[in-house]
């Protein structure tokens, strides 16, 4: 069989293939291990960590929408201390690059989380989730304001010596302005997109469906929006992009790669089929062989001039 190269490099992050499992949809990898050898992944991103432990939102936390799903997990997590105490060991045992996703309610939160994670070179990168509401700043979401997102990026970079990924919220008027601010703030990589804010109503109960009223929309429904944003951002920044939002098949992944993403992440797809990412890796390989393309790198940003 022909050997094709699926390897990609994003800043200092070297991945054997461009498939990453997205934060919040792959636990810490342990559960997926029952379904396939997770070492085959390009990388894995753990569920978002906050300073304090959080029990998350009330149930129902999930509801299906046409070709999409709304979730309002609400960042349930053990908090940074317990994460380091208990999860580090699990992650240490993996060979594959593990990305830690962090969320904060204030600049101090982000600084603290970055500092706490700084001593652990076993993490491949820090992914900064800026879609969380900024309580201190008056309820605005960090990721929707370019000054705030710049500050968050800087403070994390100042406190963390490794690779920093900033994950963009799509709920903004101009995604390119946010992306530029992130680049100026010193981020090494941009990942995008997080979920679109949505909601659902149960007309029989005359009540909102989700315990938290609003939820984040993910899955195939949002793919056109995610792809457009990746394409727009790829034209204005020089740092690499991890693309995501509704990727279910290798064809979807290739759309993002051609639009400018150097790697892709799958979230919702894993919830439907635990080995979705693995299948995409295999399909990507088959695609390259079929088309006589030696390396996936040749396709990155194909549509960007």
């Amino acid at each position: 069989m022909t050997k094709v190269d699926l390897g990609v490099t994003l800043s200092s992050l070297k991945l054997k293939n461009p498939l990453i499992t997205a934060s919040g949809t792959c636990g810490n990898g342990k559960e997926l291990q029952d379904y396939f050898d997770i070492e085959r992944l390009g990388a894995l991103t753990v569920k978002g960590i906050t300073v304090k432990p959080s029990r998350g939102n009330p149930t129902p936390r999930i509801t299906e929408t046409p070709a999409g799903l709304l979730n309002s997990i609400g960042l349930e997590n053990p908090g940074i201390d317990k994460f380091i105490e208990e999860k580090l060991e699990i992650i240490d045992a993996y060979q594959l690059p593990v990305i830690v996703n962090i969320s904060g309610h204030s600049l101090d939160d982000f600084a603290y989380l970055a500092e706490r994670l700084a001593p652990y070179p076993q993490f491949a990168a820090l992914e900064v989730n800026v879609s969380c509401p900024n309580i201190a700043g008056g309820g605005m979401v960090f990721g929707t304001n370019k000054e705030l997102v710049y500050k968050v990026t800087r403070i994390v970079k100042e406190n963390y010596p490794g690779t920093v990924i900033v994950k963009l919220s799509p709920n903004v008027t101009d995604i390119t302005a946010i992306a530029r601010a992130v680049e100026e703030g010193g981020a090494d990589i941009i990942s995008m997109i997080n979920t679109l804010l949505g909601m659902a109503i149960d007309i029989d109960k005359q009540a909102v469906v989700l315990g938290n009223t609003f939820g984040g929309l993910s899955g195939p429904a949002i793919k056109p929006v995610a792809l457009r944003m990746v394409y727009q951002v790829a034209q204005v920044v020089d740092i690499p992009i991890i693309g995501m939002g509704g990727i279910m098949t290798a064809r979807d992944a290739l759309e993002f790669i051609m639009a400018g993403a150097s790697a892709v992440a799958v979230g919702t797809a894993t919830l439907i089929n635990p080995d979705a990412a693995l299948k995409i890796i295999d399909e990507l390989e088959a695609y390259l062989i079929d088309k006589g393309i030696d390396s996936i790198k040749e396709l990155i940003g194909k549509l960007i001039k």
Binding site: G24, T25, C26, G27, E31, L32, D34, Y35, K47, R55, G56, P58, T59, P60, R61, I62, T63, E64, T65, P66, A67, G68, L69, N71, I73, E76, G219, P220, A221, M248, T268, T270, L271, I272, N273, P274
Partner: protein, 253 residues
């Protein structure tokens, strides 16, 4: 994985019996486990899988048996699956009931909570003294199950909301009318029912297990959609559950 459907038959108002051929895995399932069914074959709508408990295993024919009620879009699509076609199922998933050696065991099934009760019963009725209580809106909703349990030689106490047969009331009403007894309780059903059982059990120092239902994303423990509250914090219904010990579950007020 794809499994061939060998039976998908309406056996009551909105109730269907589904049998799939699982030649390699049929005996890998335990009472209380559930399976996650993918229902869209061509597109991404409906997107999520749907959970159904194991209702029975046919060891001779190497089949898993499910009992389900059509309540919405997913289960309607399932009801349309023809015999001979294949369905994508993930599982068995979740934990299972503890098979007790206790002497007097009580099984309480309300609404669709009757589905998992049968396979559990089959595994314990020879070793224990079992009392089965099932309840439904109307008689024809559980005639199928009533007959099947009776075939085991086990007596069924049943209640109907509309009084069309048996005791008029809920499964709890009839259980109470018989003295709310049992050394060990197994129960599946709507939350208010489980909540009241917990109250009674606590008062009387009874122990036992609940099988809980919660909306699921993945069914395999990665998304944290399906949590329930317990005395030791949030637990995932799909992973640490769906079976929890009666005393550890914390219900909302």
């Amino acid at each position: 994985m794809l499994y061939k459907i060998v039976r998908n038959e309406q056996i009551g108002p909105d109730y269907f019996l589904l049998e799939v051929f699982a030649p390699h895995n049929y005996n890998r399932v335990r009472p209380g486990n559930f399976f996650h069914f993918k229902l869209s074959s061509q597109g991404f709508d409906p997107l999520l899988r749907r959970p159904l408990s194991i209702h029975d295993v046919n060891y001779q024919k190497k089949r898993w048996v499910f009992l389900y009620r059509v309540v919405g879009r997913g289960t309607s699509i399932l009801a349309d699956f023809k015999e001979g076609t294949e369905v994508d199922i993930l599982g068995p998933l979740g934990n299972s009931f503890t098979l007790t050696q206790n002497k007097e065991v009580t099984l309480l099934g309300g609404g669709m909570g009757i589905a998992p009760i049968y396979y559990l019963l089959k595994q314990i009725y020879k070793d224990c003294r079992v009392n089965v209580f099932i309840g439904a809106k109307s008689k024809n909703e559980f005639m199928y199950l009533y007959n099947k349990i009776s075939e085991l030689g086990v007596a069924v106490n049943y209640a109907t909301i509309d009084g069309s047969s048996g005791f008029k009331g809920t499964v709890l009403d009839i259980w109470k009318s018989k003295g709310s007894r049992g050394d060990y309780l197994y129960s599946c059903g709507p939350e208010p029912m489980l909540k009241e059982i917990q109250k009674i059990a606590t008062k009387r120092n009874m122990i036992g297990e609940f099988s809980l239902e919660e909306r699921m994303g993945c069914g395999i423990g990665v998304c944290l959609s399906c949590v329930c509250q317990t005395k030791s914090g949030n637990k995932r219904v799909c992973k640490e559950g769906p079976v929890f010990s009666l005393e550890e579950v914390v219900f909302n007020d």
